[in-house]
C-alpha cells in the first residue's frame, strides 16, 4: 500500500466511530499503529485522561513503549505530558534541551533504543483528551509535512471520539472512556490466562489474541472478554498445526 492509500484508509477508519460496535480501545490502538506506520516511527504510545484527574497509558505498539510511558506518568516528565498540558506539539526538541526537560525519560528512551521522541496532543479546541508519543530508533527530525500529518491524524481521531455526541456528548464519552479503561484491564487479564494455558510469554499471548482478532474481524476487547468469560477456549486461538512431512 502506498503512503497515500494508507492515509486514505486510515482516515476512513478513524472517522468511523458512530457504529454500535465502536470500541475505544481498538480505535486508539489502531491510531497508534497507523500513526507509527505513516510517520515511519518504530513505536507509538497513547496516553489518555481518565476523568479522575490522572493520565493512563491506553494503547502502545510495543512493551518498551508501554514501559516508557508508564515511567513518564510515574515521574511526571516526558514529551507526552508536555504535549498534553500545553496542547502544543512537542517535536524536534534538541537532545540537550530534552535532557534538561526530561532527564529520566530521555535516558530511559535512549537505553531502550529510541533516541528520537516526539509527541502530539489529542485535543479539540479546549477539550484535552490525551497525547500520542512517536518513538524512533534512529535520530529523526519530523518535517513540516510529517507534523501536519501527525496533527491531521490526531485531529481526526479526536473529532471521531467527540463528534455528534451532543447533547449527551459528555455522558457518552464518560461511559466510553470508563469502559475503555476497564477493557484495557480485561485485555491484561486475558493475556495472563492465555499465557498460562498456552505456556507463552505475556507478549506472545498478546500477539496471539491480536492475530485471532484480526483474522476473525473482531475487536481485541471482544476476544479478550470471550477468553476470560470462557466463551473462547485458548486452544481455539492457536493457529492450526501444520502437518509435518
Amino acid at each position: 500500500m502506498s503512503r497515500e492509500q494508507l492515509l486514505a484508509t486510515t482516515f476512513v477508519e478513524l472517522a468511523d466511530t458512530l457504529g454500535d460496535d465502536f470500541d475505544v480501545v481498538d480505535f486508539l490502538q489502531n491510531l497508534a499503529e497507523r500513526s507509527a506506520e505513516i510517520l515511519g516511527a518504530d513505536a507509538a504510545a497513547i496516553i489518555l485522561a481518565d476523568q479522575r484527574g490522572a493520565l493512563r497509558v491506553i494503547a502502545t505498539t510495543s512493551h518498551a513503549a508501554r514501559d516508557l510511558e508508564l515511567q513518564a506518568l510515574a515521574t511526571a516528565e516526558g514529551p507526552c505530558l508536555d504535549a498534553f498540558h500545553s496542547g502544543e506539539d512537542v517535536v524536534n526538541v534538541p537532545r540537550t534541551e530534552g535532557l534538561r526537560r526530561w532527564p529520566r525519560f530521555l535516558s530511559a528512551a535512549e537505553d531502550l533504543g529510541y533516541p528520537s521522541v516526539h509527541a502530539v496532543p489529542l485535543r479539540l479546541r479546549s477539550e484535552r483528551l490525551g497525547a500520542i508519543t512517536l518513538l524512533y530508533a534512529a535520530i529523526t527530525e519530523l518535517t513540516d509535512d510529517d507534523r501536519a500529518l501527525a496533527r491531521a491524524l490526531t485531529a481526526v481521531a479526536t473529532v471521531g471520539l467527540l463528534q455528534e455526541r451532543t447533547p449527551r456528548q459528555r455522558e457518552v464519552l464518560a461511559d466510553q472512556l470508563q469502559a475503555a479503561l476497564s477493557l484495557r484491564v480485561v485485555v491484561e487479564q486475558a493475556k495472563g490466562v492465555v499465557a498460562e494455558w498456552a505456556e507463552l510469554e505475556i507478549e506472545e499471548a498478546f500477539a496471539l489474541m491480536r492475530a485471532f482478532a484480526r483474522e476473525h474481524a473482531r475487536s481485541l476487547g471482544a476476544v479478550a472478554t470471550d477468553v476470560i468469560e470462557g466463551r473462547l477456549a485458548v486452544g481455539d486461538l492457536l493457529p492450526p498445526e501444520r502437518p509435518t512431512t
Binding site: 479522575r52 455522558e171 464518560a174 484491564v185 480485561v186 487479564q189 490466562v193 505475556i202 472478554t225 476470560i228
Partner: protein
C-alpha cells in the same frame, strides 16, 4: 496521597463506629457529591444481591427496591459493566417504568450508577441519587470515580479474611496503585486463575493474600508470577 487514598484514610478515621466501611463510604460520597442518597450493591455473578450498603434508610430502600424489581440503573450497571446515567428523570421513563415512578415519588431528579469492576471481575455497583436533574460536571464525575475506586478497594478488603481487620497505610496505597497503573497485577491475576483453577476474582484475592503473608507489595508478587518465579498451582 492519591485522592482515593485520601477517601480511604478518612473512612478509616471514622471506622470503629456502628457503621460498616461500605456504609461510611456511602455517607461520605453523599456529602461530597451533593447527593440525596448513595447506595452500594454487592452482587453475585448471577445478579442476585449479596449485600447492600447505603448512606441512610431511604437509600437502602431504593437499593433493595431495584434488586426486588430486578430492574434499574444499578442492576444494569452491574450486568453490562457500563456507566448508567439518568440525568433527566421524568415521567414516562421508558427503561425502568416501575422503578422510575418510585424515584419520582421520592423527589429524585437524576441517578448515576457506576459499575464496580476490575476488568472482568465484577463486584457490584455504586448508585448516586440527586434531587436536581442534570449531568455530573467534570469535577463531580472525577470525584464520583474516586469513590468508585475506593469502593472497589473496600469490597476486596471485606472479601479477604486475612485483611478484613486491617487497612494499613502502605497496603492501602499499594492496593490503589496496583489496580490502576500496573498491568502486571492484571496479567498475574489471569495466570493465577489458570494455575489455581479459580475465578479471576478469587485469583486476585490469592495474589493479595500471598503479598500480605509475605509482607510484600502486590505489584512485586505480580511481577514474580509473570516472570514465573512464583506458581499458585
Amino acid at each position: 496521597m492519591t485522592p482515593v487514598g485520601r477517601i480511604l484514610m478518612s473512612l478509616m478515621d471514622e471506622a470503629g463506629s456502628d457503621l460498616t466501611l461500605p456504609e461510611l463510604l456511602c455517607r461520605s460520597a453523599k456529602r461530597e457529591l451533593d447527593a440525596v442518597a448513595v447506595g452500594l450493591a454487592v452482587m453475585a455473578p448471577d445478579s442476585t444481591s449479596e449485600l447492600v450498603a447505603a448512606s441512610d434508610q431511604s437509600a437502602h430502600e431504593l437499593e433493595v427496591l431495584q434488586l426486588t424489581l430486578g430492574e434499574g440503573p444499578c442492576v444494569e450497571a452491574f450486568r453490562t459493566g457500563r456507566l448508567v446515567q439518568l440525568a433527566e428523570l421524568g415521567a414516562g421513563e421508558q427503561r425502568w417504568p416501575a422503578y422510575s415512578a418510585h424515584l419520582l415519588e421520592r423527589g429524585v431528579g437524576a441517578v448515576f450508577a457506576f459499575p464496580l469492576r476490575i476488568g472482568g471481575i465484577r463486584l457490584g455497583a455504586l448508585d448516586v441519587y440527586r434531587t436536581r436533574a442534570g449531568a455530573l460536571d467534570d469535577d463531580d464525575l472525577s470525584l464520583a470515580l474516586h469513590f468508585v475506586d475506593a469502593a472497589v478497594v473496600v469490597l476486596l478488603h471485606l472479601q479477604d479474611p486475612a485483611l478484613r481487620d486491617t487497612l494499613g497505610d502502605r497496603r492501602l496505597d499499594d492496593a490503589v496503585d496496583g489496580f490502576t497503573t500496573h498491568p502486571e497485577v492484571h496479567q498475574a491475576t489471569g495466570m493465577v486463575s489458570v494455575q489455581a483453577v479459580v475465578s479471576l476474582h478469587d485469583a486476585l484475592l490469592l495474589l493479595r493474600a500471598h503479598a500480605y503473608v509475605a509482607d510484600r507489595s502486590i505489584i512485586e508478587v505480580a511481577r514474580d508470577v509473570v516472570a514465573r518465579r512464583i506458581d499458585f498451582r
